[in-house]
Symmetry: C2
Subunit: 332 residues, 2 copies
């Protein structure tokens, strides 16, 4: 991909904001791949964000999240609400293709300018996916969507970090999860604003609901509001409108209590710290700490010849001395 000139980025952002789907896809690719133009694109999009409702939909594999998200999106579209979907796929050569395929089919079937669907694949190292998801969501929001649905497989820490960027979190459960309900939900129970029991026509829906209620009372929810539990059958669309109204009510309540604002501030606090960390590392590269150096050090550490816990403070001190030396007009 060849770098895009500044004026071209401005034009691209303008086209994104006017709802041009091809420009949107191009802008998303730039930020997803962390291209040189990414910061400029995101900066251009930023003034056009902040008004959309971000809904996170998470839950274990097989709970029917994708179908639920699709139906929820249709519900919003029927109400003339513009919708973006960011589907975060687990990183696997085994399933990635199939899931992506379904999404593409869905987009084609609907053929609707008010709906934009994007699949994201896990890639790179820790935190990379959360970063990319956050950036892609910003761009989709800037394209004039009123609601952005972010769907993740909700088990790991990475998913929990993705959920941090949403306003309302929906956790999808289903009957027949057996004794594993407890352990699968670890870390997820606490972040739920709304529980959905999908496939609720199956045997065991009552039991799942009871388990959720038991866990909640065990945890001693810290606020007076009880987390609503909505039953759905996503395949037939049953309960989807109930879910939509539960989301809207939750949003209104969170906004009223000032919690939406608190969440967004907390999110940005973490996000800019991570951005600073990344930018510092990049800057350090320009001040004498190269990627090649790190690789050579890693070899020596793996061989036991160098102590990483003494090395790192020394490297960082050098970066700053380098800069100070440059200011004095001397070589460090």
């Amino acid at each position: 991909m060849t770098p895009v000139a500044d004026s071209a980025v401005r034009e691209l952002v303008e086209r994104v904001c006017s709802g041009d789907v091809r420009a949107l896809a191009r802008a998303i690719s730039l930020v997803e791949n962390d291209a040189p133009e990414a910061a400029e694109v995101l900066s251009g999009c930023f003034p056009h964000t902040g008004d959309a409702l971000r809904i996170g939909v998470t839950g274990s594999p097989g709970a029917g999240k994708s179908t639920l998200v699709d139906k929820l999106a249709r519900g919003y579209r029927a109400a003339a609400t513009k919708v973006g979907i960011v589907a975060v796929d687990p990183s696997s050569p085994f399933t990635g293709g199939a899931i992506l395929g379904d999404r593409i089919r869905m987009q084609e079937r609907i053929g609707d300018d008010g709906l934009y669907v994007r699949s994201m694949a896990t890639r790179g190292s820790l935190g990379g996916l959360a970063r990319a998801t956050a950036d892609v969501t910003q761009v989709i929001e800037a394209s004039g969507k009123d609601v952005v649905l972010i769907e993740t497989v909700g088990v790991g820490q990475d998913e929990i970090d993705i959920v941090r960027l949403v306003d309302v979190t929906v956790v999808v459960l289903m009957p027949g999860m057996g004794d594993d309900v407890q352990s699968i939900k670890a870390g997820i129970m606490e972040i739920a604003d709304i529980f959905v029991i999908n496939k609720s026509d199956r045997e065991g829906a009552d039991r799942v609901e009871k388990e959720v209620l038991a866990m909640q009372s065990l945890a001693g929810k810290h606020d007076s509001r009880v987390t609503p539990i909505v039953r759905t059958i996503a395949t037939t669309g049953e309960g989807i409108e109930d879910l939509r109204s539960a989301v809207e009510q939750m949003k209104a309540w969170l906004a009223e209590e000032g919690r939406l604002e608190t969440r967004r501030k907390a999110y940005w606090r973490e996000r800019i710290e991570e951005m600073v960390r990344q930018a510092l590392l990049r800057e350090a590269g320009a001040h004498g700490l190269s990627a090649e150096d790190l690789s050579e050090h890693a070899e020596r550490i793996a061989d036991g010849q160098e102590d990483p816990y003494r090395l790192v403070p020394r490297l960082v001190a050098q970066v700053f001395r380098h800069e100070a030396g440059a200011a004095r007009g001397t070589k460090p």
Copy 2:
């Protein structure tokens, strides 16, 4: 916790290396909590690490990982091998306590100086658990263990990052996982060195094995060696010795092929980059970029008054200018 003087840290490390269990527990607490003495402790431990075999045991909740790890540890102990166990618990007030309780009971029941068990809870933000697990493993290794077993719930990115620090990865499956085998295993299939089908007396063991084989052929394993599949019944101990010998064979093969070394280098490459990032952020704090500043910026960003994508490069440039200005004897 009051800071410990340098000479006291040296003494603590000496006691850790001589096998003192109370010193080990104290040293682990220091590194787990990232105390001011943590770097000194880790640096002291470093020369005593690198010889132990690190075995990762991962798999979905309910697959029987804990029992398997316990039995594997007993097998090693019977062979006079000193064993450490790091059990990474999912972050939940619901299950954390119970799992930890089991572990404590196990340690008491065995009452064996050659075995050390430590539970870790998910805490803090992204990457914090992987960092803490890596550091704790270093300290346990320095205490003279020949084998360290690291047990995680294997679904999220965080777990995959933890697995990066091991030499041999065992992925635990069980019969009756139904159609979810595929999606649950996303991202995990690729990192398996050995598959275990636990609870293999249950109906469906053949089917799970077939599914694993099908997925492997679908993925087109990039090397000639087929990932071994071992059947166990952890509760009765059946198959545990087969697993132990599969691990030893895999270790020998990986070492012969130079892959153990490659893995450790790759691990340290990522680890020191993360350490540098963290150290740079800390250093930036000492050069004019405070946590309070970041919080104030986050508030303005959440209100749409400040653009994070322009802010961060400016902040980072200021950090370096601050340092350069100090070197020139001027205020920035």
